[in-house]
């Protein structure tokens, strides 16, 4: 399964997931508390520097993950130029860029399995309502069935195109949703056949 974990090994790959996530939380809180240009610029510079420690390929990859924010930068910049409040616009942009960059840094340097471990550990206090083992099972099932369901939907699309000159559009979604429901029933049975979920 595709993950966003970077194959480029960095020092951060060797830091345990828990502390990394805790640091990220703290950093994000601080970022949202800061509201002046200079400290926020320094924060972004620091985030960039940390990311750059992973090397050129890693940094380029990290910057690519910021690309969806580009139109957002445009609109904020424009808005604040018009309202003549450039400083405020700068604060918003710097803060978000730094926060997203740091969060992506954690994502890119933590293996999926370690993330899932942290998640199930965080869920431990919820044990009476949510068994961590059940959560781990649910995560595994979803990862397992995304490509399978995607194939099914592709097949339904082919069946449509085989009989129609038009693209299926939204109408493919009823059979696709049904496929998810049918698969859910059969997977439930297979799961029960091997001892069921929980306890």
């Amino acid at each position: 399964m595709l993950t966003l974990t970077s194959p480029v090994e960095t020092v951060f790959h060797r830091v345990a997931a828990g502390p990394k996530l805790a640091a990220l939380c703290a950093a994000t809180v601080v970022l949202f508390w800061m509201d002046r240009l200079l400290p926020l610029s320094l924060a972004l510079a620091a985030a960039l520097a940390l990311t750059a420690m992973g090397g050129g390929v890693f940094l380029r990859h990290a910057l690519r993950m910021l690309r969806p924010l580009i139109p957002f930068v445009g609109v904020v910049a424009l808005w604040h130029l018009v309202t003549d409040d450039v400083a405020r616009g700068g604060v918003i942009l710097l803060r978000m860029a730094a926060a997203v960059m740091l969060a992506n840094l954690v994502t890119m340097t933590t293996r999926l399995s370690d993330m899932i471990d942290v998640l199930t550990r965080l869920a431990r206090p919820l044990r009476p309502v949510l068994d961590p083992a059940t959560l781990a099972l649910a995560i595994a099932l979803t990862i397992r069935f995304i490509p399978t369901l995607s194939d099914r939907v592709g097949q339904i699309g082919l069946a449509w195109r085989a009989r129609s000159p038009h693209r299926p559009g939204w109408r493919i979604l009823t059979p696709a949703t049904l496929a998810a429901l049918d698969d859910a029933e059969q997977v439930a049975e297979a799961l029960r056949a091997r001892g069921g979920a929980g306890r």
């Binding site: 099914r152 097949q155 339904i156 082919l158 069946a159 449509w160 195109r161 085989a162 009989r163 129609s164 000159p165 038009h166 109408r171 059979p175 049918d182």
Partner: protein, 241 residues
């Protein structure tokens, strides 16, 4: 018979997710009954999708009766496809909706389509099916419905992907008789040589390549011998792709 008649592949290849599933193939299929044999994963379904225009060739060209099969509107009267699993091709809740869909797509009015569907069901002695939810049909009956919905569109060529897989003996015999009587050109995929014994021509596909191409009495015995030989060895452990 003109040059444009039948299905032409000119150095047509298919690469999916950076993997060459079908290396360049050049073929001219014009016989009335054509069988495609091959092991699991040999590329049979991919070849069928290529011929049907459901996937584009990565290189080379495909034409059916002179038409590019990617031009869906023009190719609909030329080509029908029966997919392997009826559960992947039934799109509507009731039998009559399912049957009417293809006719509407050919440009007929709702009234016209409804009339033809009713007539076709009556012809088959199945008028009572019209309002029935497809989910209450058995596996064999759903297969039959899929075939009917294609026959109703009256294409010149029908591609069938494992039409007998999972069906019981009597159902297979009936379906086989029904198919034998069809005037259309049939191209049938199977991994079971017995069901292709009466074809005019058999293509044996192996890892995307045409390993043998000829009449059944030549290709089928060779295929069976090869399969027995492979089956005698221990399982291959190498991973695909």
């Amino acid at each position: 018979m003109t040059l444009s008649h039948g299905i032409h592949l000119h150095a047509a290849s298919v690469t999916l997710n950076h993997r060459e599933i079908l290396p360049p193939l050049t073929l001219h299929l014009h016989e009335q009954r054509i069988g495609i044999l091959g092991r699991n994963g040999s590329g049979k379904t991919t070849l069928l999708r290529l011929m049907a225009g459901l996937i584009a060739p990565t290189s080379g060209t495909v034409s059916i009766d002179g038409t590019d099969p990617a031009r869906r509107r023009e190719v609909l009267p030329l080509l029908g496809i029966l997919f392997q699993n009826p559960d992947h091709q039934i799109l509507f809740p009731t039998v009559e909706e399912e049957l009417a869909f293809g006719l509407r797509q050919l440009g007929q009015t709702a009234a016209e389509a409804a009339r033809k569907v009713a007539a076709a069901l009556a012809d088959e002695g199945r008028s009572h099916w019209a309002k029935v939810p497809v989910t209450t049909l058995s596996q064999g009956q759903r297969h039959y419905l899929c075939l009917l919905s294609i026959l109703l569109m009256n294409p010149a060529t029908i591609l069938l992907d494992e039409p007998f897989a999972g069906l019981d003996l009597p159902t297979v015999q009936r379906l086989q008789r029904r198919l034998d009587r069809l005037p259309q050109r049939l191209i049938t995929i199977s991994h079971d040589p017995a069901s292709l014994a009466r074809a005019d021509r058999i293509l044996w596909l192996d890892r995307g390549r045409v390993h043998a191409d000829g009449p059944p009495d030549r290709v089928i015995p060779a295929f069976i011998a090869a399969m027995d030989q492979i089956g005698g060895q221990d399982a291959d452990t190498d991973l695909a792709g």
